[in-house]
């Protein structure tokens, strides 16, 4: 059974010699089960191609983008307070904000990042290594889900 499948996979992938292809084609004409198995392999191959074409999971990029924006906005939001409390830092905060913005632009491509005026609430977020999802972050609510186990 495994040999049949390997032979059909090799035939489908174009790995057989001319003589090998001729023998498989003759076998397929005589054996409907083999033809069905080949059809199944074709269907599986198309499914895998579709999955590959979809790229990474759609929820990854928004999460990454959120963190980039949070780094940017945190530096912007905290810079004035640090200035008044510690008497220093506009230049440093500006440099950090500019670096974060440049990094964000490099990684974001043409898609605009959420700015400080975006309705979302998250400015900085860390889950201490636990898996975490930002399920929602808009003007209505911010929902952060950390499906950790209770100790």
């Amino acid at each position: 059974m495994i040999d049949r499948r390997r032979t059909l996979e090799a035939y489908r992938d174009g790995e057989l010699s001319w003589l090998g292809r001729w023998r498989v084609q003759r076998w397929l004409r005589r054996d409907p089960a083999a033809q069905r198995q080949l059809d199944a392999l074709d269907a599986l191959g198309e499914l895998l191609n579709d999955v590959d074409a979809e790229g990474p999971a759609p929820d990854l990029w928004p999460a990454i983008r959120l963190r980039l924006a949070a780094a940017d906005v945190t530096s912007e939001a905290r810079a004035p307070a640090l200035f008044w409390r510690r008497g220093a830092g506009y230049l440093a905060a500006g440099a950090v904000a500019a670096s974060a913005a440049a990094l964000a632009l490099m990684l974001a491509g043409e898609e605009p990042l959420p700015s400080a005026g975006s309705p979302g609430a998250v400015r900085w977020l860390d889950s201490r290594g636990h898996p975490m999802m930002v399920l929602r972050d808009d003007s209505a609510a911010t929902i952060i889900w950390v499906p950790e186990q209770a100790s």
């Binding site: 900085w124 399920l135 609510a141 950390v146």
Partner: protein, 146 residues
């Protein structure tokens, strides 16, 4: 020259007084924070009218059958003051308002051994943190500011 020095000294004095006044008014600001602790469960439960608002927020975001309010706290918290609450999971929740402006309240949140972060929240824009197992379901903390 003397007048110049006096004028400079007066301006410095005014500037210092202004800065001190600004700092004082900032420290005097407080933020009203309400923390509601919920349990979401896969088990069906009785409809709790207190949960209506939370149900609207959470429905469709996480799977659950019932929602129950376990506890609720409200406090006026001064800027930069840390409000520490004990959660039913025996962990602590710490909240610290950092700044209040027309853009909302910059709030720092820290759940012990879990998530921490800074959030710019507005009135009517709750901050919801949930996930840990508790009882038959999972614990959800809702933070509202005014």
């Amino acid at each position: 020259m003397r007048w110049g020095r006096k004028l400079a000294a007066a301006l410095c004095g005014l500037a210092l007084a202004g800065a001190a006044g600004a700092e004082e008014s900032t420290n005097g600001d407080t933020v009203s924070i309400e923390v509601t602790i919920l349990e979401v469960s896969d088990q069906p439960g009785e409809a709790d009218p207190r949960c209506e608002r939370f149900d609207k927020i959470l429905r469709g975001q996480i799977p659950y059958e019932s929602l129950a309010v376990l506890d609720s706290h409200r406090r006026e918290v001064a800027l930069n003051e840390v409000w520490t609450l004990q959660l039913p999971t025996a962990r602590t929740l710490q909240l610290r308002p950092l700044e209040v402006s027309s853009q909302g309240t910059l709030l720092s949140l820290d759940v012990e051994e879990s998530v921490q972060g800074d959030f710019r929240v507005h009135r009517g824009q709750p901050l919801v943190v949930g996930g840990p197992r508790y009882g038959e379901g999972r614990l959800v903390v809702v933070v509202d500011t005014e």
